[in-house]
Symmetry: C2
Subunit: 377 residues, 2 copies
């Protein structure tokens, strides 16, 4: 049976990238790597829409979140974070692990924080050094308007704006410099279309100044060391060489499509999945949905386990289930990275067949028709 992966990380890796990574190993302190890594660093700046350095860390995305916290702060400082899902909640866990005073802005999971809610939190806590946001909350499929929030934060105080862009970068519009974002992190197995194992991180001038004063202990994630190295297109520690080779190829694909076109494609595919869900009488969890993934609520009348089992075992489709209190309540479908229109018709067709197998009532073909209609909007 042909298998298809629709999880919001790892996402499918283009065949040409997989084969490139399967070429004989090279050494990272030799010219063949330096040449490639120079190109990677230039293309990462384009991806992040920043003129500053983008650092490549060998870690999962969570490693880069950890790195931001332990490099920006001194113990006991105050920071605001938004708990609107598992990954927003993670910012709070990391802040507390480093002895920070973490002020939680709580929103119902599936909803998105507003600029007003952040402003309120800042009013009550004048010592806030940074605001931690999640542009695309992978656990709920909700998007946060980080552009507006960054503008409002900077109007009113000196706090840095930190964005978890793990499922946003390469999927949704994000202009780090223009929007005044002070830190952006992402992972390799998302919009960047390669396997997990690398994380990427960029800081603004303001954030770099904070790193100079930071007294939290760190070694592997010392970003000042990483910045010095990247100026020579090098890394302080042995990088995950094969993944760097992969990201070079993936970044070339993004550059050649054009970042605005990549964002537009994600918007088109996301809208097609949301239209299909609606046409099938299913509801999308997020009120302000991300273009990286769509979380769809499984109707109470259906057995969620049987649904997922059928989708996977009968039709070869792997999607993600719900996390935390959403376990067994939602499925999360990825349209993040290496997907096109016909991947969307494939997943919607498989959803229709699975719904039919599970005894759900709907007009066959209505989901796929809605998906196709959305492509041309």
């Amino acid at each position: 049976m042909k298998k298809r992966l629709f999880t919001p990380g790892p996402t499918p890796v283009p065949e040409s990238v997989m084969l490139k990574m399967a070429e004989p190993m090279i050494h990272h302190r030799h010219p063949e790597f330096t040449e490639l890594f120079t190109r990677v660093n230039n293309n990462l700046r384009y991806l992040f829409q920043t003129s500053g350095d983008v650092l490549t860390l060998t870690s999962s995305g969570t490693g880069s979140m950890d790195a931001v916290v332990c490099n920006l702060h001194q113990p006991g400082e105050t920071a605001v974070f938004v708990n609107g899902g598992k990954f927003g909640e993670r910012w709070g866990e990391i802040l507390r692990a480093y002895g920070m005073h973490a002020v939680e802005v709580s929103v119902e999971w599936g909803s998105s924080v507003s600029a007003d809610q952040i402003a309120d939190a800042l009013k009550g806590n004048p010592a806030v050094k940074a605001v931690y946001l999640t542009q695309s909350e992978t656990s709920t499929g909700a998007a946060t308007d980080v552009k507006t929030i960054a503008r409002e934060v900077h109007k009113n105080c000196e706090a840095a704006v930190v964005v978890d862009g793990i499922t946003a970068v390469g999927a949704m519009e994000l202009r780090m410099d223009e929007w005044g974002i002070d830190a952006v992190v992402t992972g390799s197995q998302k919009g960047l279309m390669i396997p997990p194992g690398l994380a990427f991180l960029a800081l603004s001038e303001r954030a770099w100044r904070m790193t100079e004063k930071s007294t939290l202990p760190k070694y592997y994630f010392d970003l000042i060391k990483a910045k010095k190295a990247v100026r020579d297109n090098d890394t302080p520690w042995t990088p995950a060489v094969s993944l760097v080779i992969g990201v070079d190829k993936a970044l070339e694909m993004i550059r050649s499509e054009g970042i605005e076109n990549v964002w537009k494609r994600h918007d088109r595919l996301a809208r097609s999945i949301r239209s299909s869900a609606q046409a099938l009488g299913l509801s999308v969890l997020a009120k302000c949905p991300s273009n990286a993934l769509t979380a769809i609520t499984i109707p109470d009348s259906l057995d969620a386990k049987a649904f997922n089992r059928t989708l996977k075992n009968k039709y070869g489709i792997t999607v993600a289930g719900g996390q935390g209190h959403f376990k067994g309540k939602i499925i999360r479908i990825s349209h993040l990275g290496y997907y096109d229109e016909f991947d969307m018709t494939a997943i919607v067709s498989a959803l229709e067949l699975t719904l039919k197998d599970c005894g759900y009532k709907f007009e066959p073909g209505v989901g796929v028709r809605a998906a196709i209609s959305a492509f041309s909007v």
Copy 2:
């Protein structure tokens, strides 16, 4: 030109492993990964010769060194480390980054620390919580007798014995449980024959007890979280999936050869390179040499840069140069991981041709003859 990699990490990746890693991506929270990771975890215990858990971290080897320090200690505790090369020195840097009192045992780079030197350091510092060693010092090619040192340390005090096994694991005899080693770390791009990006770490019961009292801040490298996850053959964060697939295949190769045979093969190849060097009138830097790599001093009469350039550009061979004050003075040749006898005759032949090109006087063939003779000993 056919290219050959002889660096002590990254090391060559077997073709079958590269192709396995190029297969379509799978998701790490699904049964296909769990099945594979269960096998990996069993085989890692065999590799480390421990009945305890071996944790898989997505990081370079340095990440696992950082993880050991920030999980075992409380700020201000005392630990002994050995500065006999760049990687021993690194233990000291990490200890100090975490606010530890780091007692340095200094040995000339290229020499190995003795059990007596460690005993002296412990006598002068009764509060020592751990002794940090490097079994195979990659910067000099020197080996440390961690078996004897661990026995002597445990006879006299309660300190934990921590071993950087980054270029030792899978190359040199290491029996974690039997020898009473409290922590072992290694990286993926060494004896494990896969690309860089994963690190592996095991702790003894004593070391796990230390983690429970540790108050140093950590999140990504929280080993208690990793231990809980590995009990379910899971990881707390998204692992480098393709590399885990690769290490599964590589561990199967090691298991099928048998770990004792793997150690014997490394011993045989290392002896052949050392014999060749001697026959060619070159000197091996390390007094007690590692079986993972051989550092050979470049004679003063030769231009080191021209030597390396010829080896690389004319013969397609990549070796490692010297680090720190050995820059331009030595070359480091790897026989670590996926190498056999005929790889040794290839590198020695290339060395002979390069020496000849550089005007060095020797009897042609004498190096290769010595290599071949050593195989049958």
